[in-house]
């Protein structure tokens, strides 16, 4: 065992060396083809393919280094509250792919919402969720809290239980109590339990977060309905999401348009060219940050403010 660990340590060191020579990050290196030793990752725990929720879209998954981490906190942000359906749908879709690749399909999910948010953006509707994401209504639990502290407490306790296939915590704006420490607590709980925790945030300014992944989800025009005679004009097809990587472990950025197939519950990437509908490309391609820690894009760099030794300055929401 000790030898094994030593060997992994060595491989890890070599990978870092190679990455340094190539001027890249170790996470960006191509994974070895052979079914060999798992590569040592952060926190000293080997990460295999089972730890990732692959979406089945190669380009999107590669941007995360294999997919979204299953045992982690993942932030899914929406620009406006009226995008609530899109953002919630994307979170449920990711959870559905994560649950399918694991053996947790029979477990329930817990949706935690603040009462005012539920009234503003609507209650989750079980028949629709079953129709689009294959989650049976009896497996859906909704926790309604009146204060952020209560919602946070429920999220922490629920993820610690480990019995839910996914826990969703839905918030709006920037609650003062949701700081770096709070997200770190959630992330640690999720990692210990080995279950995904999705923090859904509506119309909030980007803040420092301990979540390894942050995605910004915007609406995207859906593809046309496919019929035997070709696409049906002016029809509304399956759900589509425009997803921008705001923070990822590999430090890559990008914008992807993903179509959700509600029949076999898979994602499909829509290539920007050749399709109708405008796909916003990420304007700023961020430079290689050159560090192992997750970096953020598409927003003011909160880490810079934090590094200055001062409390992070809350950015006023633009637009």
């Amino acid at each position: 065992m000790a030898r094994n660990a030593m060997a992994q340590e060595k491989i890890f060191a070599l990978r870092r060396e190679i990455a340094r020579i190539e001027g890249s990050l170790p996470e960006r290196l191509q994974a070895p083809e052979t079914e060999g030793e798992p590569v040592l990752r952060r926190y000293g725990r080997p990460a295999g393919a089972a730890d990732f929720a692959g979406t089945g879209t190669p380009r999107f998954d590669a941007a995360f280094g294999g997919g979204i981490l299953k045992a982690a906190l993942t932030e899914i942000a929406g620009r406006e509250t009226r995008d609530g359906g899109i953002v919630a749908g994307f979170a449920l879709a990711i959870a559905a792919t994560a649950a399918r690749s694991g053996r947790q399909a029979q477990r329930p999910v817990l949706w935690i919402g603040l009462a005012d948010m539920l009234f503003e953006a609507g209650f989750p509707y079980a028949p629709g969720i079953e129709r689009f994401f294959g989650l049976a209504p009896e497996k859906f639990l909704l926790a309604r809290a009146n204060r952020f502290e209560d919602a946070f407490w429920v999220a922490e306790e629920a993820i610690r239980l480990g019995g839910f296939s996914a826990v969703f915590l839905e918030l709006r704006g920037n609650p003062a109590k949701l700081d770096l420490t709070a997200t770190r607590r959630l992330h640690h709980r999720a990692r210990e339990a080995g279950r995904p925790l999705f923090l859904i945030r509506h119309s909030g300014a980007p803040e420092p977060t301990a979540a390894p992944t942050r995605l910004l989800v915007s609406p995207a025009p859906s593809p046309l309905r496919e019929t035997l005679t070709g696409p049906l004009p002016r029809s509304i097809g399956p759900p589509a999401f425009a997803v921008a990587l705001s923070k990822s472990r590999t430090g890559r950025s990008g914008t992807f348009v993903l179509d959700w197939n509600p029949h076999d519950f898979t994602f499909q990437e829509r290539w920007p060219s050749g399709e109708r509908g405008s796909v916003r490309k990420s304007g700023r391609r961020a430079q290689d940050p050159g560090c192992l820690a997750a970096a953020s894009f598409d927003g003011p760099d909160p880490a810079a403010a934090a590094r200055g030794g001062l409390a992070p300055v809350r950015e006023r929401r633009a637009g």
């Binding site: 009226r82 995008d83 609530g84 359906g85 899109i86 919630a88 749908g89 994307f90 449920l92 879709a93 329930p108 539920l118 009234f119 953006a121 609507g122 209650f123 989750p124 509707y125 079980a126 028949p127 629709g128 969720i129 079953e130 129709r131 689009f132 994401f133 209504p137 009896e138 859906f140 639990l141 909704l142 926790a143 309604r144 809290a145 009146n146 209560d150 407490w153 429920v154 306790e157 629920a158 239980l161 019995g163 915007s218 609406p219 995207a220 025009p221 859906s222 002016r234 029809s235 509304i236 759900p239 589509a240 999401f241 425009a242 959700w260 509908g277």
Partner: protein, 457 residues
Amino acid sequence: MGIADARAMHPAIEIVEADPGADRRLLESLADWCDRFTPLVALDGADGLFLDISGCAHLFGGEDAMLSEILRRLRHQGFDARAALASTPGMAWAAARYGRGPDRNVAPGEEELALAPMPLAALRLEEKARVGLESVGLRHVGALIGAPRAPLARRFGSMLVTRLDQALGGAEEAISPRLPVAPLSVERQLAEPIGTTEDIERLVLVLARTLRQDLERRGEGARRLQLALFRVDGAVARITVGASRPLREPLTIAKLFHERLTALESGLDAGYGFDLVRLSVVAAAPYAALQTDLSGPASAEEEEFSLLADRIRARLGDEAILVPALAESHLPERRARFVPFGGESPSAVEPSSAGEAKPTTHLRPIRLLEKPEPVEASAEVPEGPPLSFRWRRALYRVARAEGPERIASEWWREDPPAPARDYFRVEDVDGRRYWLFREGLYGGEIAPRWFMHGMFP
């Protein structure tokens, strides 16, 4: 005597208006406090309390010791109370009010002797009957005891005889307790009052352990538990927690109360401390002792779920954790609504879906607004989808639309029936997908109105 006369005689007199409501509340809180002696406490008129101490006296060192203890404690609280012990409520009532001497207690068998010299008012008679009896010269109860009963009843009503029998023990009289009596309860008297939440929680655990033996003997588990905290100065705090499945495990019970107490922290006023803590099972249910099988920890997991749900409910209230309950209906809001977890099971709410709860083939949104919100919409053609609409003061341009899907109201439920709704799926130019409906028809009796009802992914 009027106030002016009274003031003329005693200028220093203080006038306070009578407040029957406040007196009543005081009496009720006193009854709550008396709960520490016996669970059977009943209010008696505006100024009296009945305590049924059957089976409780030995806990306080006998009847006389208990009575003097009650009186001593009441005196410490500043109440001047008169009390008497007797075998019947009627006799005790009479002795407390009309008994003479320091020892008003009436031993069993001595009721006639004690009642005979008392005035007729001791029998709790109506004013009319009492005046009538006094007018014929019967002023003491003793004159009635030996008298022939039929003429008495005929002339003064049967109530007279009933009251007499009740006082003497010839007729049963039940007092109606103010609070329901818990089937099981355990309590702990404390020599040193406690006040901190930690102490209370520790004590709950101790009490729950005792309770467990009783529950096991009865083959039951607790569905609702109440913790009564008796404060030194007489106030009583009662805290209730519910469980979605019958409970026995002391640690679980302690956990639930922990959540409840944490949520209450600011609301629980310990004052000078609590000197009596009682844990009672308010509602119990048969406890199914399940044997865990080898096929998996499914039941253990379910138990964990219900424990988490109970803890959430204990802390945030019964409405905090919800599950969708499906019903056979085309109206979206009736098709699935949220009900509290662990209440009546979803299948009990709705009889016919057990076998045919198949996913709907129609596209339904994944978020539904609690109430459809009115929008201003303009349609190109009557009956057609909207071209643009204004919702929450923002304008949306519709790029594509599908519909209509007509959902008629359920006339067998509503009177008068609501107009039918025409639902449209629309996608705006940015790609947001919404579910709108139009109520009423253009050119119909009811002017058409548009509503926003849900969001698609």
